[in-house]
């Protein structure tokens, strides 16, 4: 098999046919779970247990179980919230922005990345809800009339914008993801052997048959969803950054927060996509679909966004100096040299220095190095949020209330617990859903081989019939009659 262009690497290797694609992807869904999956699931379930225990402690005894104090009222919870939301962004970026930009290589990774988005947003949403202390009153954030009178929510508050942004983002991503899954569920349904599988995938596939008109509408829907998701994904992290940027706290009151947070979100999101895809391709033997080329491309995006983040760190310092506001200047000097200098150093090393290694071709195409790098970036981006939140809060205008923050065991438990929640959901997804978008892979397959398309459209007149050789052994005109609804 050859590819069309001499300067482009093939998107799918291994000389796959349409049927091979179905076989390879459906195999994972149809086969019994392997030992590695069971092992990973056990670890994930253990941490899910940690999550439930920590949440129980938080809800039963209250937010006092966390290490928050009168000065640092937002610490790990909001750090984790912003971190998880940021991770979610790469999924939508891959599925929407790269679709609009006609980047065909996204097809191999978009399904898993979108699933990652959904699960990351679920994990993110846990933190603000738990931080309320009384989550059963969470409906207060929605514009419902109060029982005491017609008191409404405050639409001037970025925290309320967050409610709308996150809930819109979650539901839109979910619908986008599910609509993309419907034709693939139909493929699994039509191959299913057992009655349970037949029934469940029939329910999930919504009766999809793949008729031409349905496909036509499906493509329209995908394109419009991508079109509205693109500004949506940028708006969500912009609004998350406004939680900080619209305040007057030195270190938070920064106009570059929206683009800087969006770049950071894509940065950490791609790191997480890389972490997950590197594991998935090995565990499920998908090396032909997620090639080294895919990994290199993701690495490049990670490097570009990482560099944008690096520029943002320097810009913050420059603006603090240039604005001549002494509180701003102090906040940034305190960040780099104060008691949390180690967090700042970790952030700088992980986010600014390490991604620059991607310039080396050898690093870009190395699976082991990419994996290590993606983990480092994830850690670094967590520290970035921690630095922004805690170093700005622990010393602000009033020196008498300066304080330090250290996490409690429950703080750590909730964070590690959400990792368990995330991986439990991801592993379930990887087992029961097709991890790679079969439809999109099939539709790009022809464009990666040398005998590309020949049809150029009938311009109002019929095309002269080409003589096709009749394959021997195939029933010519002996009709096979099936039973109704076989």
């Amino acid at each position: 098999m050859q590819h069309v262009s001499a300067i482009r690497e093939p998107l799918i290797t291994g000389g796959k046919t349409l049927h091979d694609v179905t076989q390879d992807i459906c195999y994972q869904v149809e086969a019994k779970p392997n030992i590695r999956w069971i092992g990973a699931m056990s670890v994930a379930l253990f941490f899910l247990g940690v999550f439930f225990y920590s949440v129980y402690r938080t809800l039963w005894y209250g937010i006092g179980e966390w290490g928050l104090n009168k000065t640092v009222g937002w610490a790990w919870d909001i750090t984790n919230f912003v971190w998880w939301v940021g991770i979610g962004h790469a999924g939508t970026l891959i599925s929407a922005v790269l679709l609009l930009f006609r980047q065909k290589w996204r097809s191999s990774i978009n399904r898993a990345a979108e699933a990652m988005t959904i699960f990351a947003v679920i994990c993110a949403a846990m933190f603000p809800v738990l931080h309320m202390g009384r989550p059963w009153l969470a409906f207060y954030v929605f514009p419902l009339q109060n029982t005491l009178g017609s008191l409404w929510v405050n639409f001037n508050s970025p925290l309320l914008w967050d409610v709308f942004a996150i809930s819109t983002y979650f539901t839109v991503s979910l619908v986008f993801w599910y609509t993309g899954l419907v034709p693939d569920f139909a493929t699994i349904r039509d191959r299913a052997k057992g009655p349970i599988a037949k029934f469940s995938y029939s329910m999930l596939s919504f009766g999809w048959t793949g008729s031409a008109k349905a496909w036509s509408r499906y493509e329209t829907v995908s394109l419009i969803l991508a079109g509205v998701s693109t500004p949506l994904v940028l708006s969500v992290h912009t609004i998350v950054s406004m939680d900080f940027a619209t305040s007057v706290v030195p270190g938070w009151h920064t106009t570059i927060f929206p683009p800087y947070f969006v770049a950071g979100a894509i940065f950490s999101g791609f790191a997480m996509v890389l972490t997950l895809m590197l594991i998935t391709r090995v565990v499920f033997k998908l090396e032909d679909y997620i090639t080294l080329e895919h990994i290199a491309l993701m690495n490049k995006i990670m490097m570009v966004t990482g560099s944008i983040v690096g520029v943002a760190y320097i810009t913050e310092f420059f603006i603090a100096w240039y604005s001549q506001v002494e509180f701003e200047q102090y906040a940034f000097i305190n960040r780099a040299t104060g008691p949390y200098w180690w967090a700042y150093a970790a952030m700088m090393t992980c986010n600014v220095i390490t991604p620059q290694l991607v310039w080396f071709r050898r690093v870009r195409y190395s699976i082991v190095l990419t994996f290590i790098l993606s983990i480092i970036v994830n850690i670094g981006m967590w520290f970035e949020r921690f630095v922004i939140i805690v170093t700005s809060l622990h010393r602000d205008y009033l020196p008498s209330s300066w304080a330090m923050f250290s996490p409690s065991i429950i703080d750590i438990g909730v964070f590690v617990g959400t990792l368990g929640l995330f991986f439990t959901l991801f592993l379930l997804f990887a087992k029961f859903f097709p991890v790679i978008n079969m439809v999109e892979i099939k539709s790009i397959l022809k464009y990666t081989v040398d005998n590309g398309p020949t049809y150029t459209g009938n311009h109002g007149h019929s095309v002269p019939a080409t003589t096709y050789s009749v394959t021997p052994g195939v029933p010519a005109s002996a009709p096979v009659t099936y039973d109704k609804h076989d």
């Binding site: 929510v153 709308f164 493929t187 919504f206 419009i224 459209g457 095309v463 195939v474 096979v480 109704k484």
Partner: protein
């Protein structure tokens, strides 16, 4: 209503597209074409009209925008006016984020619900499929047969000439 269909099975999308042109050119009405992925150019070949979903999407978006502006202006400006942070009661710039989010929310969900409704997709126990291989690797063209199947030999001939690897028939309940 149960009907009999002739099913031409094709292996390749380009062969299918040429076949659609020729079958339609021969004056045969195609009932439907089933494919494992969206075939580009099939809309023109089959004469499927452009979807009006984008218009619907725009309409839903406008509804979302109008609703969000009404909600924010009515609640904060008229129903319970309060001065928050010295801002005016109807602080339009502050209303932009929620207005944007609700526009997207209404566009997306309105359009997707419309898509599922008009395409007839809903969870069901059993799905009748013309040929199960059409969700795997085959392209299937379905042509409705007349009462006593008299058109079958001619159709078989036509489909075979145009590159169908198999011609089958099947009884189905017509939508």
């Amino acid at each position: 209503m149960t009907k009999r269909f002739a099913l031409g099975v094709f292996e390749d999308e380009d062969v299918l597209l040429h076949a659609i042109d020729n079958v339609r050119g021969a004056g045969v009405k195609i009932y439907d074409v089933f494919s494992p992925y969206p075939v580009h150019g099939i809309d023109d070949a089959l004469g499927i009209e452009r979807s009006r979903l984008p218009i619907a999407a725009f309409f839903y978006g406008m509804c979302g925008l109008a609703f969000s502006l009404w909600l924010q202006i009515y609640t904060l400006g008229f129903d319970w006016p309060m001065i928050i942070g010295g801002k005016p009661q109807i602080a339009l710039p502050a209303f932009i984020p929620v207005a944007f989010e609700l526009t997207v929310f209404f566009t997306c969900h309105g359009m997707v619900i419309t898509f599922y409704t008009i395409t007839g997709l809903y969870p069901r126990f059993k799905t009748p499929v013309m040929d199960v291989r059409s969700t795997d690797d085959k392209f299937v063209m379905a042509i409705e047969l007349d009462e006593n199947n008299s058109s079958l030999p001619k159709l078989t001939q036509l489909l075979r000439e145009n590159g169908a690897s198999e011609v089958n028939q099947k009884e189905m309940t017509k939508k």
